[in-house]
Amino acid sequence: MKFKSDEISSVIQKEIEQFASHIDVREVGRVLEVGDGIAQVYGLSDVMAGEMVEFASGVNGLAFNLEENSVGVIILGDYLNINEGEEVRSTGKLLSVPVGDELLGRVVDPLGNPLDGKGPIVTNQRRDVETIATGVAERQPVCEPLQTGIKAVDAMTPVGRGQRELIIGDRKTGKTAIAIDAIINQRESGVKCFYVAVGQKESTIAGVVEKLREAGAMDYTTVIVSAASDPAPMQYIAPYSGTAMAEEYMFNGGHALVVYDDLSKQAVAYRELSLLMRRPPGREAFPGDVFYCHSRLLERSSKLSDELGGGSITSLPIIETLEGEVSAYIPTNVISITDGQIYLQPDLFFAGIKPAMNAGISVSRVGGAAQIKAMKKVAGGLRLDLAAFRELEAFAQLGTELDPATQARLDRGYRMVELLKQGQYKPLNVIDQVLVIFAGTRGFLDSVPVDKVQDWEEKFLTFMLDQKSEVRSELADKKDLTDDLVEKITACIEEFGTQYEGAEEPEPAATA
């Protein structure tokens, strides 16, 4: 294929022929002061809140504060080239970003400009960054599962399409890892993914992009970057522009997954802007409307009704806590907005339990509606059992003599914990998850030593895939555990048990 330049020039020629001169009328103001990503502008008497304005140097801004005598503008771009006295014009437009398939596989800034050096994004489809979320009548309850590929999450706190599930935890507890695994697991599901990086180190973001690329996930993913060195306005709008890009799919009947990594940094950027604009500070110096900042963002994740195509946006907001303090301002706000949270704990993480999810206080308010029937049956009481096990384990550490029933429950608990451990970038198919959790909860692992559980799991899954694929595919078709299927799976596990040499030398169960 070769590019025809004469075709381009014919388009341009047509443009020149049709060109009509007319007077350009615009509303202007002048910069009074500028700095730290914001500008005070005198004039612009008819500008509206949230309207896009353009500085004479070509940089865009957003009318953020409308005061009696001046307008506070947040600058989206390089504010160092803006001078006092410079002309500012209102555009009568709202901020918008390019959307559509051209963005897949790209790394862009919050305005949709490419950052990956792969050339311009050729599209004229745009969407407003700030839109009002769909109303009650346009929605339907969450009913379809969104498989994250993580056993602990899919079994205990399932995420449905259109749900907002918060990932919360201290620094270095594997929050991003869960989100990345969820993105990687969408390879076959057709869900488009958007990773919004807010206030992170550029090296960390580059690492994430590289991991996604290695896993082949960049084919259906867009990364929206506003790094720690970007001015606060960019960090503030990044989640909204990521959502706008995802909405393009939702409103066309598709499905999208948005990861906001992380919203506590966005809140900090918003606090910075608000304080510079002299808005009164409230708790923890955040402005009074920081709740609205997050609620209007997360309300845009929804499952549309069938009349509107049934599309969805699922969001996984991430919040970083300090020293496990979930009752701080921003964490409580976002917990109350979302439909559940995955709580990650450092002590579990350091004990080698990865993902370090605390089953006791992690919840999903959508619950079973977001699970396939088979998973619902095998994982029904798993969360409560694990929480009970944690209590029992603490009690058992006192060193008292335990009765056999309690000891058996403890042993089962150790094996379940072991079973729910999962490596990074290794999402598991939901059918495989059902098989191993079935084995664990029905007690088939009780004879396997605790340190062999992961090895058993791996070999069992290979066995099922290679030798019993008919049982596996039957489960994949029905997505339900019928009595007949339960018998078949039980038979498979027993057959595998005889082959697995690890079981031949039963050891006394290890007690911690």
Binding site: K2, E27, E68, N69
Partner: protein, 214 residues
């Protein structure tokens, strides 16, 4: 910047304190209303005070704005200075300003009063920017057409800006009417880009030729 502008007014329109400006507006309106029929006379006196007293004796302005000089002393000073030289309305207005401890914003008050007076006389300041210098006939024609379209008496200040290439730019208050060639060229550049992108998107095949057909 803000602090100095409260006492020293400059001609640059971006250097002022928006709050002082607001305050000055209130006093300016009151002064003109109080003058009744003699608005122009009072305004003239006030403008003379600024040009003759404040501009020639900068120390005076500091005294007016200073909190160290008591209000009573300032009133007496005003009596001695202007007692027999200005109309009673002007003097009373200066005393009111003093009693409210606002003599420091006198300069802004006078400037805003001037703008207000222009507006009341149906005169609007208009900035006209052209690419080349206009001859008198053309200038008069432009002023005439401005008068016709705006429905007010334009007070035109003209600047020459060769960057416009041709045509002119008129600024009235916050509104800019841009009929320059620079703006037209920019607009056509934008629409060319937009239509080219649209054409590439809607039918990309017309821009490509198969290499085997060559």
């Amino acid at each position: 910047m803000m602090n100095t502008s409260a006492t020293k007014d400059t001609s640059r329109e971006t250097v002022f304190d928006v709050d002082a400006e607001k305050l000055a507006g209130v006093y300016a309106q009151a002064a003109l209303d109080a003058a009744g029929d003699k608005e122009d006379e009072v305004l003239d006196e006030l403008q003379t005070i600024v040009s003759e007293v404040l501009d020639t004796h900068p120390d005076m302005e500091e005294v007016f704005g200073s909190a160290l000089v008591s209000i009573d002393e300032k009133v007496e000073m005003l009596d001695r200075l202007f007692g027999s030289r200005v109309s009673t309305t002007t003097l009373s207005f200066l005393k009111v300003l003093t009693k409210h401890d606002r003599l420091g914003v006198l300069r802004q008050v006078v400037r805003v009063a001037g703008q207000l007076w222009e507006r009341r006389c149906n005169r609007v300041p208009v900035q006209l920017e052209t690419a080349i210098e206009l001859d008198d006939a053309l200038h008069a024609e432009v002023v005439d057409s401005l008068r016709g379209t705006l429905g007010v008496e334009p007070v035109v200040t003209t600047t020459i800006n060769p960057d416009l290439i041709a045509g002119f730019v008129v600024r009235v208050g916050d509104k800019v009417y841009d009929a320059s060639t620079r703006a037209s060229l920019e607009r056509s550049r934008q629409s060319m880009i937009m239509h080219a992108v649209e054409a590439i998107q809607s039918s990309p095949e017309q821009f490509l030729e198969r290499s085997d057909a060559e």
